[in-house]
């Protein structure tokens, strides 16, 4: 038996994080919210009843739906995986902010409302600002 195997530990002590090198970034939610706003512009500005125009119109609705869902998913990842109890101590409105932002994602699916899209963009920005403040 060589020296190395003689002195090698037989036990492992873990010094891990559960999520290896978790990469979190609110930019994905921002892009999704901006896409929702852009699609609402396209839907409300749509003219023409030819097949190509109708195709674009319906695609805009589908993309709005999809990106509102992406935005919600990205927000939930930040909310449940990134933010920790000590962040909540510092930002007591955090849960309420996320809850309202997630609800705004649903509202943007249900409606074609530029004001709702602007509210979502503002909510995502508020969360992004908190996120980057915790990274300082």
């Amino acid at each position: 038996m060589d020296l190395r195997s003689l002195i090698a530990p037989r036990l492992v002590a873990h010094a891990h994080c559960d999520i290896p090198c978790g990469i979190y970034d609110p930019t994905a939610a921002k892009i999704a919210a901006d896409t929702v706003a852009k699609m609402i512009e396209k839907i409300t500005g749509a003219t023409g009843s030819d097949d190509a125009s109708r195709n674009t119109y319906i695609r805009s609705i589908a993309v709005k739906e999809e990106h509102a869902q992406i935005c919600k998913k990205e927000l939930l990842i930040l909310w449940t995986d990134y933010f920790k109890p000590e962040h909540l101590e510092k930002y007591p409105k955090l849960h309420d902010t996320f809850w309202k932002a997630a609800k705004l994602c649903s509202k943007n699916k249900q409606s074609v409302d530029a004001a709702a899209a602007a509210d979502l963009q503002a909510a995502v920005k508020e969360i992004a600002d908190i996120f980057w403040a915790t990274k300082k």
Partner: protein, 110 residues
């Protein structure tokens, strides 16, 4: 796994104790027969998975138990009492006294 010997060896797995320990460092651990003290590096049984060992630094000792944290500057790099809360004093098995390998990193644990 609860080592019975007065001294035992562990291999560090993971980066949450950087820069104190790196992944793969070998440590000599002394079994603790007194309560752990703040600032000391301990090997403890994982409260979420008994049998699995953790190596962390004692951040606080309170009536609620022993709060442990990784040394890594980024809190995201360590899963510790900030997530799973304080651990019972009985879960602390020993304190790390010596890093004996690799040889170029040989030294007492502070």
């Amino acid at each position: 796994m609860r080592p019975a010997a007065l001294l035992f060896r562990v291999a560090v797995a993971g980066a949450s104790m950087e820069p104190t320990f790196r992944d793969g460092d070998w440590l000599l651990v002394r079994r603790l027969r007194r309560p752990p003290r703040r600032g000391e590096v301990v090997v403890a049984s994982d409260p979420r998975e008994p049998g699995r060992l953790l190596v962390k630094r004692v951040h606080a000792v309170t009536n609620a138990g022993v709060s442990v944290r990784g040394d890594h500057a980024d809190p995201d790099a360590s899963t510790d009492s900030r997530q799973f809360g304080p651990i019972p004093g009985s879960a602390v098995l020993g304190h790390a006294v010596l890093r004996y390998a690799p040889l170029r990193r040989f030294g007492l644990v502070r």
